[in-house]
Symmetry: C2
Subunit: 497 residues, 2 copies
Amino acid sequence: MIFKYLLPAKNGEEYTMQFLLEVVDILTNYVRKTFDRSTKVLDFHHPHQLLEGMEGFSLELCDQPESLEQILVDCRDTLKYGVRTGHPRFFNQLSSGLDIIGLAGEWLTSTANTNMFTYEIAPVFVLMEQLTLKKMREIIGWPNGEGDGIFSPGGAISNMYSVMVARYKHYPEVKIKGMAAAPRLVLFTSEHSHYSIKKASAVLGFGTENLILLKTDERGRVIPADLEAKVIDAKQKGFVPVFVNATAGSTVYGAFDPINEIADICEKYNIWLHVDGAWGGGLLMSRKHRHKLNGVERANSVTWNPHKMMGVPLQCSAILVREKGLLQGCNSMCAGYLFQPDKQYDVTYDTGDKAIQCGRHVDIFKFWLMWKSKGTIGFEKHIDRCLELSEYLYHKIKNREGYEMVFQGEPQHTNVCFWYIPPSLRLLPDGEEKRQRLHKVAPKIKAMMMECGTTMVGYQPQGDKVNFFRMVVSNPAVTRSDIDFLIDEIERLGQDL
Amino acid sequence: MIFKYLLPAKNGEEYTMQFLLEVVDILTNYVRKTFDRSTKVLDFHHPHQLLEGMEGFSLELCDQPESLEQILVDCRDTLKYGVRTGHPRFFNQLSSGLDIIGLAGEWLTSTANTNMFTYEIAPVFVLMEQLTLKKMREIIGWPNGEGDGIFSPGGAISNMYSVMVARYKHYPEVKIKGMAAAPRLVLFTSEHSHYSIKKASAVLGFGTENLILLKTDERGRVIPADLEAKVIDAKQKGFVPVFVNATAGSTVYGAFDPINEIADICEKYNIWLHVDGAWGGGLLMSRKHRHKLNGVERANSVTWNPHKMMGVPLQCSAILVREKGLLQGCNSMCAGYLFQPDKQYDVTYDTGDKAIQCGRHVDIFKFWLMWKSKGTIGFEKHIDRCLELSEYLYHKIKNREGYEMVFQGEPQHTNVCFWYIPPSLRLLPDGEEKRQRLHKVAPKIKAMMMECGTTMVGYQPQGDKVNFFRMVVSNPAVTRSDIDFLIDEIERLGQDL
């Protein structure tokens, strides 16, 4: 049986339904196993192994069609050799978990297969986006949820939007005349901030050397006095400070920059304040934890990725802008073939010209559906629970033999950063030899974890600190027993290093 | 029943399976109806109607959870008030159709819910992307398929990549120093090209006035002599020509710019040549039609959207670059927390640092799976068939009473552009009154089509030409009878205007 018997083929209905149900059977089995702790997180293979082809599974593309039976095998094998990001012991990324309602939402989105650029072909989704963005702005604390925003393909692009809009607000002529029309503009962000701010400064033509990195305290939070000193210094050199990024939940430490103090400085010097809440924005849903973002309502723009802390399937990231009209002003090109002014409906609902994309994937539905199904309080419970689990881990290891915390005190977010020190290193004196040996520990343990397939957790160096583990929790399937398992596994794999 | 009984809840397996199967039932019913010509293409409602809420369906988000029964109703209603972009009579967009294999691929992608940035968490998808991009480069005609590329969130972003990479090739210091490090750079594109080139020039800091528009012939193809004259003129003014975009399949006319002649000029003046084949790239799969892109192998970069002419579900767009290493050089920031050099596998497979995104949606699987299932020859047949259907339409209306073609001669792509002239206008003398009245015809017919829900086709003005219909075919479900239906419908709705 090959593809040409499927719809739109004549009498293709029966085969189509049969084929789709067989696919669904593969997928629901995968879902079932994802939540089963006796299943591995991954079945690791090196690139050359997969490229050479596994039994019955070849990645090569051919001139001739494959049978539908083989297509089903291909689906099964693709999942088999992948990574179960929804597994309760997958801690590797800020995005994890497999929300069933979100999954259903994505299946529906793919079936609707449409595009966000006009109300004309995505009426329901366009309105859902509008309502959801308004709700998010209300939660940020902007009066009546006024303002603007759009869902974008990820936090890096959302952050890029913020820099673009800041530039447009201060130097609208750059849109037409280019960067030559502006003086030398400088941007500020923490040395702990996400690399997307640096990418944006390169992409948009500012240049990475015009992004000034701010010092942080021991916990990875920006020191506001350093910002002010650097703003003054830049102005004295004749540069124009135009944009400050405050991170709400940094990638590695989970640190929250002090937004109110930063906002004071931005107001004083008339600088755009962006809050990158890609990771930490979710905490706004929690009455207990939202104080960590105090001052966020003073930001000019906010990035907030529901696909991270809120467990929405990838991709789902919003850029929210306090002032209405800027996104449109910055990006509109009024393409006649898409945004006809003489349509029969209110064309202000055609949001496509606000975007830097033309076609835009429907990222809203799964999020909207999850919100419907959980309610605001469901997200709050989820977030509070993840933070409790992190506290549990923190208290478990802070005084445990063989562990050292990368920074002291309870983490602000779910990020718990620590070194595991194998017995053989514990008695070594501090110094370069110990550092060098410790630097190799996390990569070795991680490699063994992946070979065994039992769990996954991230590691990295930061500044002058050698490789350490960064544990994060965002998956609702995680329990204390999974945290215990991770620690046991690190000790099992690391004890003889 | 509410969401908290679903997995990861204890004993949640049964409810989860039951819920997902009920969702699948809604989706397969939708699929069935999509191919059924007795079903409407859409059930049109104005924004205020949907915002006020339809019976049993409210878009508002609440604090409290909704029942799973209501979630299923929400799913059903979301589809009910949407647009069936896979319906055989939906001709509104360059992307249309609902490929069953592609759909299965998207369902699997959502279930895998992972991220393209590292081999670590997307081993199979990363390799599929690499192999598929190589295959596409082979088809373009680059020796051994060498070069580079990446899938991006749509053609506009792919085109933006091309401008970025061109800038990096000629002025790599801009990455660090910003646009101030370069002389005044100018870009060239046809007045018929997609608006994303203009967006890119604004976003990247060139400024839209430094994008020079090229004249086209009556068919919408760039006049190479105009390019050369404008290059010389720019150089005389002291500007530096750095980028030329040649469109392979323009959005409205479906025109193919003469790539070889443009490439001669680009080589002579050392200018980056990009081919925007977002729409026309698919014709490379057809031995009969690929000559329209002759010279594409001389391009430095190519945009090619499988989600348009090749019927892959949204989103699926590739930017392909002839010279290896440029994408990486242009965009890499070496974030330590993601791209650790000390992983256990060959980290050259971690492609994330080539991208301007951090997280990147998996767009490859559905495409790879469709290629497996159809083979290269399946795509070729699909493309040849769509072009035959357009020829059929062209021949049907070119001498038909009440029709006027926007340009003469057989279309190069599936775009057929025409005015329908209602009987009341046919005897009017040419002139401003007729123009003004004709300008209103297409929007009126389109509005009625949407109210009736029978079919959808695009219209727009272009230059000094008043609103005309742009018919395109990219959906494999379309037959001659659907083309006939469209014409009947235009005449039925337009005869009394």
